[in-house]
């Protein structure tokens, strides 16, 4: 086939132009700001250059370090449950039980909402007095639970809300991935005397691995970057128990006016995302080899 050498670049041009122009410049701007001391009070004046001082500062900030712990718990929990539940449901949907089409559309709903709406809906659900959950608990004669007003409970409540929010994507992803596996492989295995567990570990899992990898990367990235859900649901409290690093970044930048700190944290998050992706991909490549 005749292929002009410059063709791919022409095709890529619009996408690359927009991405690099609208995304790369902001990253450089953030890097610049993180190397200076910029606050809302001096944003239009000369920015004092401080080198890596901000980077050092945040790692000495007990609240940032705590937010990293919160983020770890939040991301691990979100990724694990979203993918695990996603896989289970996808597996069941493939079996085509009655009502599958209806269920599939229904299950998509949470992901179609915006994070802020999810935050408001769940805040309403979790409300100590007017909320649905406590209302039902009390009707059943049980004690109401302080879902988001108890520092020990709040992060779990946030996790539940995020699982509700993000699982649909994993369901979709996993169902599509499972469908690529040739059914005849299972039949052959059955003939050879393998039971369900063995089929799963020896056929499903290995074939699913590359898809799982992508699912993992996307899900963890979205969980790391998410901040408006927490902002609306709990505001980050009580006692900073639901303040993930992404929320801390927003608060430092926009509520406290520490623009440099906000930018620095953002870059840390970006590095985390890139590192995680890199590690997943490495692990996958290792497995394939």
């Amino acid at each position: 086939m005749q292929k002009k050498k410059w063709m791919p670049f022409l095709l890529l041009l619009p996408a690359l132009a927009i991405m690099f122009f609208l995304m790369i410049f902001p990253v450089f701007w953030n890097i610049t700001i993180s190397l200076h001391d910029v606050k809302t009070t001096n944003i239009n004046d000369v920015w004092p250059f401080v080198g890596f001082q901000n980077w050092v500062k945040i790692f000495q900030d007990e609240y940032f370090l705590q937010s990293l712990k919160v983020t770890l718990f939040f991301v691990l929990g979100s990724v694990f449950f979203q993918i695990f539940i996603g896989f289970l449901i996808a597996r069941i949907l493939i079996e085509r039980v009655w009502g599958t089409k209806f269920f599939r559309v229904l299950f998509m709903l949470p992901w179609l909402l915006s994070a802020t709406i999810v935050g408001f809906s769940w805040q309403w659900m979790y409300n100590d007095y007017f909320g649905l959950i406590n209302g039902m608990l009390m009707r059943l004669g049980m004690q109401p639970v302080n879902w988001i007003s108890d520092p020990n409970m709040a992060l779990i409540s946030l996790l539940i809300a995020n699982i509700w929010f993000g699982t649909p994507f994993s369901i979709l992803f996993q169902e599509s991935s499972l469908l690529t596996i040739d059914r005849s492989l299972y039949e052959a295995a059955k003939i050879d005397g393998a039971n369900s567990f063995q089929s799963f570990f020896n056929i499903t899992l290995p074939l699913l691995a590359p898809f799982l990898g992508i699912n993992l990367i996307l899900t963890s990235m979205w969980s790391v970057n998410l901040f408006d859900l927490q902002l609306v649901l709990t505001g980050g409290g009580p006692l900073m128990s639901t303040t993930t690093s992404s929320l801390y970044m927003y608060k430092q930048g926009f509520e406290q006016g520490n623009l440099s700190i906000g930018a620095t944290i953002g870059l840390v998050l970006l590095i985390i995302n890139l590192t995680v992706s890199f590690l997943y991909l490495r692990a996958l490549r290792g497995e394939e080899a």
Binding site: L11, M19, G131
Partner: protein, 277 residues
Amino acid sequence: MTKKSKTIRAILFIILVIFAIYTIMPIFWVFVTSLKTPEEARSFPPTLIPKEVTFENYKLLFQDEQMMRSFLNSIIVAVPATLLCVIISALAAFAFSRYEFRGKKQLLAAVMGIFMIPITMNTIPLYLIFQRMGLLDTYTGVILAYQVLIIPLNIFILKNHFDTIPVSLEEAAALDGATTMQRFTKVIIPLSWPGLSISFIFTFRFAWNEFVLPMILISSPSKTVFQVAMYRFLGLYSIDWGLLSAAIVIGMIPILIIIIFFQRQLLQGIQAGSIKG
């Protein structure tokens, strides 16, 4: 397909039902709240089925010129943004799928890397960029800004989808004298509807739900989008749950419609394995 016994199928069905209840609960709660009177919305203990059903909240919203205007604005912005995004992503995906060139792998990785940037970091710099370009407070500006939300994901989805289309079909077309663009529009695109549908749905979802970018880039009340306008009901000193719930329900309608109508394509897209590694 292995045949599962009736009992197992029944159990699976029940699991789906339980998950369905978990899924629908918050949405149902919001929906029910939107039909309550303000007093009942704050009543204690809370009622699951409204004692008194009222459409007052919806009436108020439909009569509110600003809300209706903002709904229209959201459409004016989300639809072109979606079309534009899918088109340029498709072109890029076509390039990645059908061509080999130096640095291709690295470029693809870089594209995915860009996707990882948290959006809050970009609010002020994007604002500055658009200001220099004179695109503040314009529909065009917002449409352009939305592109960054999901181009990488679209490129990824569409590339995988295009990869499943046999190259032989294009070679046949080329023999008939088709140009590259014709190969793209006459061969690839028609065969890609399932994958393109998924792209459209995902992109629209991000564009419709976006709050931070339009809030920063638009200031005229006449151009505000729905997601931003909705927060009027959240003043510093009052939370009108009934009105807010009704606004949430109205905000869900477009994306619901799209899902329901594009269900078939969505299904085909899933089956064609477009969302793959």
